[in-house]
Subunit: 548 residues, 2 copies
Amino acid sequence: MTQATAYDIGLDKNSANHVALSPLSYLARSARVFPGRVAIVHGNLRQTWAETYARCRRLASALALRGIGRGDTVAAMLPNVPAMLEAHFGVPMTGAVLNTLNTRLDAEAIAFMLQHGEAKVLLTDREFSGVIDKALAMLPTHGRPLVVDCEDELAPPGAALGSLTYEALLAEGDPAFVWQLPADEWDAIALNYTSGTTGNPKGVVTHHRGAYLNAASNVISWQLPHHATYLWTLPMFHCNGWCFPWTMALIAGTSVCLRRVDPALIYPLIRAHHVTHLCGAPIVYSMLIHAPATLRDGITQKLHGLIAGAAPPIAVIEGCEAAGIELTHVYGLTEVYGPASVCAKQADWATLPLAERATLNGRQGVPYPLQEDVTVLDPDTMQPIPPDGETMGEIFFRGNAVMKGYLKNPTATQEAFAGGWFHTGDLAVMYPDGYVKIRDRSKDIIISGGENISSIEVEDVLCRHEAVMLAAVVAQPDARWGEVPCAFVELKPGASTTEQALIEHCRASLARFKVPKRVEFITLPKTSTGKIQKFVLRSQVKSSSAIE
Amino acid sequence: MTQATAYDIGLDKNSANHVALSPLSYLARSARVFPGRVAIVHGNLRQTWAETYARCRRLASALALRGIGRGDTVAAMLPNVPAMLEAHFGVPMTGAVLNTLNTRLDAEAIAFMLQHGEAKVLLTDREFSGVIDKALAMLPTHGRPLVVDCEDELAPPGAALGSLTYEALLAEGDPAFVWQLPADEWDAIALNYTSGTTGNPKGVVTHHRGAYLNAASNVISWQLPHHATYLWTLPMFHCNGWCFPWTMALIAGTSVCLRRVDPALIYPLIRAHHVTHLCGAPIVYSMLIHAPATLRDGITQKLHGLIAGAAPPIAVIEGCEAAGIELTHVYGLTEVYGPASVCAKQADWATLPLAERATLNGRQGVPYPLQEDVTVLDPDTMQPIPPDGETMGEIFFRGNAVMKGYLKNPTATQEAFAGGWFHTGDLAVMYPDGYVKIRDRSKDIIISGGENISSIEVEDVLCRHEAVMLAAVVAQPDARWGEVPCAFVELKPGASTTEQALIEHCRASLARFKVPKRVEFITLPKTSTGKIQKFVLRSQVKSSSAIE
């Protein structure tokens, strides 16, 4: 124990000098300082920060009246609509935990999450009533949540399932409800299930302290100005939209809602509301840069994009640069609140050729401003690997924007934190300049004749071919080499090429053993967040290999 | 007690997900991410972040080798030089507390602080060897700190007093020293004595958590870009330069050092280093706007200034606007780490006439982004006063950038935190828009015939007269009214006016009882931070009244 000094005596915490860090404070401040500014745009709706705060307090009050309190779970099956933003404040104001559900999941997965998370309330949108109806039917009668229909004029048709509507729930509540910050900033704020490809999903529990800090870290890292206008191309069910519901409250910005990622919807919103910032997986930017040029007419403002989700193909980074979208590459996982590292730009990169710049900017980078550390260690020894850009290790995080652990899963929690670092499972190298670069997910690495092949490296080369929009490379079982790379390629609209041409293209830049032995042309299977579902491709390769 | 829920079990803090908040982390990050960027400019010195980090580690290592550790005090009697910046990191890296001394104080005050703070080491600059020599002589022999001379080519001549130089101390240390974050973010980081006008100074003890948060709050509030160039017009001994040594580390910016606030030094530095940001009391800006126009030749960049220190005269706000200095008005005290509220700008102010805009911008405003609350309460009932812009109350703060308390002074600490708020002692009104406006320090209010007169309100009117540069209004004892306002006025260079003209000028805008009964023309006595020393004027009024 440390010995008490004069600086420890009579200088305790009290309610004047110590307050729980919670992003709920950001909402209260924006409602006080910028009450009349528009917080939310959705269709014809324009909702100010004062109105948003009043509605969040109504929600909290109504939930509290219905018995929701500390440690209870409120689930949400919602697209990026105002109710989803409000739930990010109204739910934790009661002490409860917000469990956003991935809207692309099937009934079995949803039923598992509702049951495992013990949701007492479910906010749901009519678009998903089919899957929700089935999921609810799978739950034991005594375990069913109170279902609340969030009505939205812009929603496609679907049955009402709830005991009441969201607006009726809000009407039960008090817009001046006196809510409390959590007694402890370590209290849970959100529950997010990771989409594991095998076994049951794990429930990532995050805390108020981390949400407060990562929301601020977004502002500092991205130099986000006061009152920025942000378009919701990133699902809020994905790591709480990388903490952006809370970030927007900190800067009293405007959130432009969006139910579906579609350039034909996106560009008119960017034009009409003078959007300047957005986030998304590479597929989002890929769609934007390949959309018809006429859609972009009249958009003169600079667009700033955060990009993450696996390693962005260099072609996307190049394409955005050409299209005037200023990309910043971030990296993270649900367990670290979304973005937890950033490829911070160096002044001397600006004069490099585009391709070189894209390569440098495509790295996972360095710690986010308020994250403590990101590094690459040998997972067996937990010692740093040499920063030579060659030696592979695993990426580890440490800091205050790291989850509490996995809900009701002490084994997985202990494994994730073994050795005092959070284990990402992503394989990477460290460059001499201290920047991390992903080589692969552990399970995506291809081992051919004892040599490791980074599927990402091969994909990057394929994507630089003029005809290729997206590429995915997986291991194909091989009698001689153990595994060999097999490529799946999605072509740009109207473009064409051949398997042989792409193999030749790869040979020009890759060591021979890294060149795909086979190339298939398909529309790639993707998750709701735009990640390519390699497990689907892998099983396809295995079954076709078995047949051959 | 709260009951444990599933979110509390098996989800504890560990070294992967919980790290002490400390601004020392900002330095480590900038040294990793931007090692080659210039951190410090001083004279001909250009020192990078990597070099600065190595020097801070040397300092910590050398101090640790000499026995300095957790809870020890290291004092610094330094102008805004590189050693002062380095001390903000090197000292707390050892667990010790940095006690910056106001370089304008006399030997008695310094001796009191060294003794009360129990400084084990004193870093000092030759400019102050006279006063330090005297102060050291007042200390008991066994209580003298290790004295270290910080040599500086730009310092005026003065005797060396130390056992060794700062560079010799650094040479004892290891540039790769493995330092530790504090075990607890509540640990003390700095000790700052407030310049009380009566009684002994009080030692404000601040903590790592608050320093981390207020440094980040500076970035968010001011929209400070990465790598901004900041000129040190604000003394670092003043609330640790409003946390800017740590803020500059967070954004990997460049600090341009400055030993003395003098426009003839400032403008060439702004030009040469493309300075964009600076902080200071109104007197700093007053000097800048009244300096010869030729000094500004060739400066084309926008200058951003934070201004605080009592209420800035409207004339200064107007003058800066005319001179192209974009001012942001902040307010705070040593107890709240410097800036703790900000007069956040509203979009609709931009189209108002200059004077109206200046009036709105001259308010103390709303909570700093990461500060929890600032409000005006009736100090007797601790209830909010009506937000009518008329009813006077006291300003109170609450949040995470609030001191631990006063060192070895439990009575003053308890008084400061009575009722769960920090008591500022400043009297103010609250406007209907939620903005706080100081009317006066409790002791500066003038009570005339039972009516309160805000000395600041009268000063603002005086400063709007074209001949007036600065004004101070104090209470003059009066047989009939109890007190009446007496004005002291400093004229602009070359300007002239009369007592009668100024009284007429006041009559045009003020209620009759608020108009000064007497106006004296003098050079106003000021503290080192540019605050007018009203206690000097008050005693002058009292003695002259006694004679009359």
